[in-house]
């Protein structure tokens, strides 16, 4: 016999013999090689089913309930609305950076004015506007990515 059952067919037969077509069962009975492959899978499945469940080594219920008792106020408990503190730190950083730029601009205003005096006002406005726009978009993008990564890390 040369046409043996495929690996998928062998697995299907072992898992659900009753619902497999009759020819499969007949083939397995007649073909020594497929019969052995079926028995190999049966052996492995039996061993997997009989494996030991990982032992944690502590009473999880006691451990968790103790923790819940200790930090009940900290854990926004069941039945209550979860009020999560908003993280304003990126806003503080942005405001700080803006303030720093304003102070630097004021301190070095005479130097900056001398640098820009040869540039037409319209071009200057466009340059500053585009730069600020790019900085704003990039900055907001960074904040969104930061929040998204924090959410993925599930540190809350």
């Amino acid at each position: 016999m040369t046409d043996h059952l495929s690996e998928a067919a062998i697995q299907q037969y072992v898992l659900d013999e009753e619902n497999c077509p009759a020819w499969m069962g007949e083939h397995v009975k007649a073909c020594e090689r497929c019969n052995i492959r079926v028995n190999n899978y049966r052996l492995v499945f039996t061993e997997v089913a009989g494996m030991e469940v990982p032992v944690i080594g502590v009473d999880i219920a006691e451990l968790v309930l103790t923790k819940l008792g200790q930090g009940a106020e900290d854990i926004a408990g069941a039945g209550r609305t979860v009020v999560r503190k908003r993280d304003w730190s990126p806003g503080y950083w942005l405001a700080g950076a803006g303030l720093l730029m304003l102070v630097a601009g004021w301190v070095f205003r005479s130097f900056l004015l001398s640098v820009t005096e040869d540039i037409p006002a319209l071009i200057l406005y466009v340059l500053v506007g585009v730069s600020l726009g790019i900085a704003l978009v990039r900055g907001l993008g960074m904040i969104v990515r930061y929040r998204h990564q924090l959410k993925n890390l599930d540190l809350s």
């Binding site: 052996l43 990982p54 999880i60 309930l65 819940l68 069941a78 039945g79 890390l153």
Partner: protein
Amino acid sequence: MNYNSTQRLPDKQLVERVLQGDHHAFGLIVKDTERLVAQIVGRMISHAEDRKDIIQDVYLKTFKHLSGFRHAAKLSTWIGNIAYNTCINFLERRRLRVVGDEFFPETPVDEDGPEALLEGRQLTAIIAARIEELSPLYKTLLVLFHQEGLSYADIGQITSLPEGTIKSYLFRARKQLKESVLGPTKTYRH
């Protein structure tokens, strides 16, 4: 405290009791689901100390978010999903692989031949060792299906994977495991 209840309350009643502040009811939920959670965390995470912390984290998250449980799935699979996602986040933070095809060294052949090698406890030990070498996801899928007897739909709710992907991963995991224990061409006569 004894959490072994002879009469198991339905999920809905248990959840309602916890929401009314009954911590004992939450203990019953933990007892009901700790085997499943131990299976998922135990197969996904290799370090014993990490497992303990993660299981604790899973139940604290469960408690915290229980008011958001809508009974769309079984409570056990919902908690299983929290366990699975917590493990995935842990593995990704450590940049550890979740799924992949493994390379197994050839099973050492006993002087008395493969049949002697594959007898009794020796076979059990070999299979246990080979399962440990599988990727975390393959290990988890194997035990959820073959040991816990969960359906593809339940496994899908736990892992958030489509049924077709689960079937495909399980096929590959079984094949790899069988070949790593018995070899691709080796056969074991019963």
